[in-house]
Symmetry: C2
Subunit: 185 residues, 2 copies
């Protein structure tokens, strides 16, 4: 919503009291550019990844997270948390990746309710193939546009926002479930 002096629509009940109700012009502009730039950025990254390797950014991110995990395997709930998607959303996403042979499901030994998502050989290959494209895109649109100081500052700011949102993937109470899995590949 517009700030104090830009427009004269009926959205100004306050003029600067102790608890401001509207965003200032500077804040409004910052927020606007944040939303717009991020949407456009993600759209571009996805388009370039799909054009070059026929894989969506969403699916690619699954491969990335798995590749960084111990044994290239992760519990569904943990993976969903890292990807910021719902449990059911991850189930559907994994269905597609399993169908394409990039990921395999594996029973969790330590907790038989659980399921492990495991990166397959084909998944590794797809990741290795797509990674340079993705890295180049991110670098081109983000890191090349920022100097070192800006990058550090951006990261710091986003970390503050993340903290304000509350703990995400904080050290949870159940850390003993990271089962041992004889990498079935």
């Amino acid at each position: 919503v517009a700030g104090n002096a830009q427009k004269a629509h009926p959205l100004e009940p306050l003029e600067g009291g102790p608890a401001r109700v509207w965003l200032s012009d500077v804040e409004q502009e910052a927020w606007r550019i944040m939303v717009s730039a991020y949407a456009r950025l993600v759209g571009r990254l996805d388009a370039e990844l799909q054009a070059a390797h026929a894989i969506s950014l969403r699916d690619y991110e699954v491969l990335v997270h798995l590749s960084e995990a111990d044994g290239a395997a992760l519990r569904m709930a943990e993976l969903a948390d890292r990807l910021v998607v719902s449990p059911s959303g991850l189930t559907r996403r994994l269905d597609g990746l399993v169908r394409d042979g990039l990921v395999k499901r594996q029973a969790c030994l330590s907790d038989r309710r659980g399921t492990l998502a495991v990166l397959s050989a084909a998944g590794w290959a797809a990741l290795e193939e797509a990674a340079p494209t993705h890295a180049a895109s991110v670098r081109r649109y983000v890191f090349d546009a920022l100097d070192r100081q800006e990058l550090w500052q951006l990261t710091s700011s986003l970390r503050s926002v993340s903290a304000a949102l509350g703990g995400t993937t904080q050290p949870e109470v159940h850390a003993s479930e990271r089962g041992h899995e004889p990498s079935g590949e």
Copy 2:
């Protein structure tokens, strides 16, 4: 993808040549926090808006953009561009808003192919009602977590990213693009 020294998976074909193929650890971490923080932030904003006023963040943003336009009206294509959604996506979104009575469709006089989206009285009311909630959320999770310098820096960085993405319909003039003619595209 992990950087150079974090992990020992088979994703390291280079060790630092002239054209780096992977992201550095710092870059990787910055990118990771960017994706995660933004997803969580938007999810929270949407949840709080829906809980308090039964309106989605997406629909709310339509109202905001219309409210800032001349006559609270915008051509479909222009609105879609500002919202970073496809033309068909906006058509469907407007269907819902029209059904709810928050927006009205109006024939465009100057170009009979066109359609105008116009904020209705109920739309204004809904916006006025929801705006304080949204503003408070954004302030709480973003602006309260950042000092003035960080806010300025963040905006600047995002503007650089936006510029690197290339002009969409995003002129660097922030205050003058209100109600201008559809500068032909």
